[in-house]
Amino acid sequence: MDLSKLKRRPAYPFETIAVAISFSPRCQSILSEAKRLSDIFGASLLLLHIGDKTSEKEQYLDGIMLAAKVDPNHSRIIWMEGDPVDTILQLCKLNIVDLLVLGALEKENFLKFYIGSIARNISRKAKCSVLLLTNPTREPLKFKKIVVNGVENPKTINTINTSLYLAKHLKVKDITIVNEMDVSGLAMAISDNSTAPQTKELKKNLAEDSVETLQMIIDKCDAGDIKVTNKIIKGKPGYAISKFSKDKKADLLVINSPDTHLNVFDRIFTHDIEFVLANLPCNVLIVHSRV
């Protein structure tokens, strides 16, 4: 497989949007949403189904494509058999997909979460950005509040820029960029040898460092007329932003793709993206920066 076209390809603009078709009850809503996004971004639409091709399925797909007003001349359907996760990932690479749209339950059952559902396993491994829709409807989703993770990481600048690109096209006026301040270990470090003013000073310095880091990242972005709010929250990375998005009733949470290959141990000793995947607080966009 020639992956040279994928390397260093920017996370946006979205030129090719793919949607996984599973023939589930929510299938039409997910397709409608993917179609709407492809129209907004001027992207070509790719429909992927992993499974056997039968006349009943073809008939059903024609029906939902018609209902979603998908123009067969401006879209492609790929039918392929094999392992759903690996095949979808391979197809996304081959077709240089920029955004993959998937439906996902807010919370998987205990066993399924540890084994890994299709949508979540794709999210962990994808080499393109993935949009997980928790509650897709046939009517267009309105993204009013977007929360973006502003963690200190080389990928973050691309993630914020992708969020701004998304916000400009979706006409979102308000974005909150959040930096999570992980204070684990602080209690241990200050427990035996710090006076009250020293402890206060240490905590203040940590908070100021976080604000400064976040501001430096934001300053590098071109927000245009979008109102960007920065926010520092305390807590474990991943969990804190997930809770914040839920409390804020955000419509979309945008996070970086994982830095390392994730496996079942990352679910048992949950951290970062796994906290988000364990309980999706809202629709989630995982930006793959390809850097």
């Binding site: 602080l186 241990m188 035996d192």
Partner: protein, 411 residues
């Protein structure tokens, strides 16, 4: 129920208050020269113990810390509780997710910083037992070699965290790698040490076989870190909102710690393992509020820790048991094994030469954890007093030198 007599209660309260107040004064004095608090506490123990007070004023020493009657029993109970609490808070800071998060560099650093000092220590103890006056019988020699390897491979998270905080490296890449690797070292080190302790007990009481002990340790650890952790995670939000704050979460967390310690003690694995694992399960919860964590830390570090570390000086005469040869060997092995191991691990993990050396010296701090390990080994009859004194000196020297040596390699 046996009760303390009126006069015994007065002496008990006097001895505890003396230990607490004087150790606080020494800790505050030591702070001016950036010395670890534990050093001040140990010095107080040496002053109040047989080394100085016992030699100069044996009557006062005998009055404050009598060797017969109910007071030593009461003090022993308090010291045992102290070490359990210390291990609980040590466990509270072990977050295995940090190791996974830091990826291969943390895995390599923690593996190499354990394996190299462990085998260095094991090999020296196994092939040259006469240096440490250990018998050549395979059983005791094997246990001592295993202990010595473990003692050289353990790290001291609280000291390391403090050093990184002072150097403004706490949340940097190097800082996170050191913390994550030290966490992993502590976990494996305490698991191995618990097994060694239960094996030592087995020699004395013929209770459990090696297989059963390993099975119980792994089984208990797995249960607490998966199902136990989930249960704590689910119930903690309820505890923190429905029960009195912060009293509710304090009593339940310390209760779970003691329950867990009682369980491991009952199945002939030392109580410390139960406390340590309960600490991990509790401290890793995303729902544990920072205030609750701070209160538990403050309570344990400022009440139980001074009592425990002062008690060490009460039990051992540091001048009589100072053996320069053993001290020198322990120091050299500790520095070489740990610094070399952590540096190699960090380098293989992808860090630069200077960063790797900084990680190596950062990981070298042994601090309070080494002293706790040594004390438990001494109490169990695994090591002699001269080896214990050497371990204490090594813990202090590595803790004091870690920061300045690290600084040399930070850009």
């Amino acid at each position: 129920m046996i009760k303390l007599a009126h006069s015994e209660l007065i002496v008990l309260l006097l001895s505890i208050s003396t230990m607490l107040i004087i150790s606080r004064i020494f800790a505050e004095l030591g702070k001016r020269w950036k010395l670890p608090v534990v050093m001040g506490e140990l010095i107080v123990g040496i002053i109040l113990g047989p080394t100085i007070l016992g030699m100069l004023y044996p009557d006062i020493f005998g009055y404050l810390f009598p060797k017969t009657g109910n007071i030593p029993i009461a003090l022993d109970g308090i010291f045992s509780l102290s070490v359990i609490m210390l291990l609980f808070v040590a466990g509270m800071e072990v977050q295995l997710s940090q190791v996974l998060k830091q990826g291969k560099v943390a895995v390599y650093t923690s593996m190499f910083s354990m394996v190299i000092p462990f085998f260095t220590g094991f090999a020296v103890a196994w092939f040259f037992p006469e240096i440490f006056s250990i018998s050549n019988e395979p059983g005791p020699k094997l246990l001592f070699a295993l202990f010595f390897g473990t003692a050289l491979s353990i790290s001291a998270l609280p000291v390391i965290a403090r050093i990184l905080m002072d150097m403004n490296l706490f949340k940097t890449n190097i800082g996170m790698v050191i913390i994550a690797s030290a966490m992993f070292n502590d976990l494996i080190g305490w698991l191995i040490f618990s097994w060694i302790l239960s094996m030592t007990n087995q020699i004395h009481s013929d209770t459990l076989s090696i297989g059963y002990t390993i099975f119980y340790i792994i089984g208990f650890g797995l249960f607490m870190l998966t199902i136990g952790k989930k249960i704590i995670d689910k119930t903690l939000p309820w505890m923190q909102t429905k029960l009195s704050w912060p009293g509710g979460v304090l009593s339940i967390s310390l209760g779970i710690c003691l329950l867990s310690a009682a369980f491991t003690e009952a199945i002939n694995i030392h109580a410390i393992l139960g406390a340590f694992i309960a600490g991990i399960a509790f401290g890793d919860s995303v729902h544990l509020r920072e205030e609750a964590r701070e209160i538990i830390h403050q309570f344990v570090t400022n009440f139980f820790a001074p009592l425990f570390f002062v008690s060490i000086g009460l039990k051992v005469n540091f001048i009589e048991n100072f053996d320069p040869v053993i001290v020198a060997i322990v120091l050299v092995l500790a520095f070489v094994g740990k610094v070399l191991g952590a540096t190699i691990g960090a380098r293989i993990g992808g860090m630069s030469k200077n960063q790797s050396l900084a990680v190596g010296f950062g990981m070298n701090a042994r601090g309070a954890m080494e002293i706790i390990l040594g004390t438990l080994a001494l109490n169990a009859g695994l090591i002699s007093k001269p080896i214990f004194v050497a371990l204490v000196i090594m813990a202090l020297v590595t803790s004091i030198t870690s920061g300045p040596l690290m600084k040399k390699f930070i850009d």
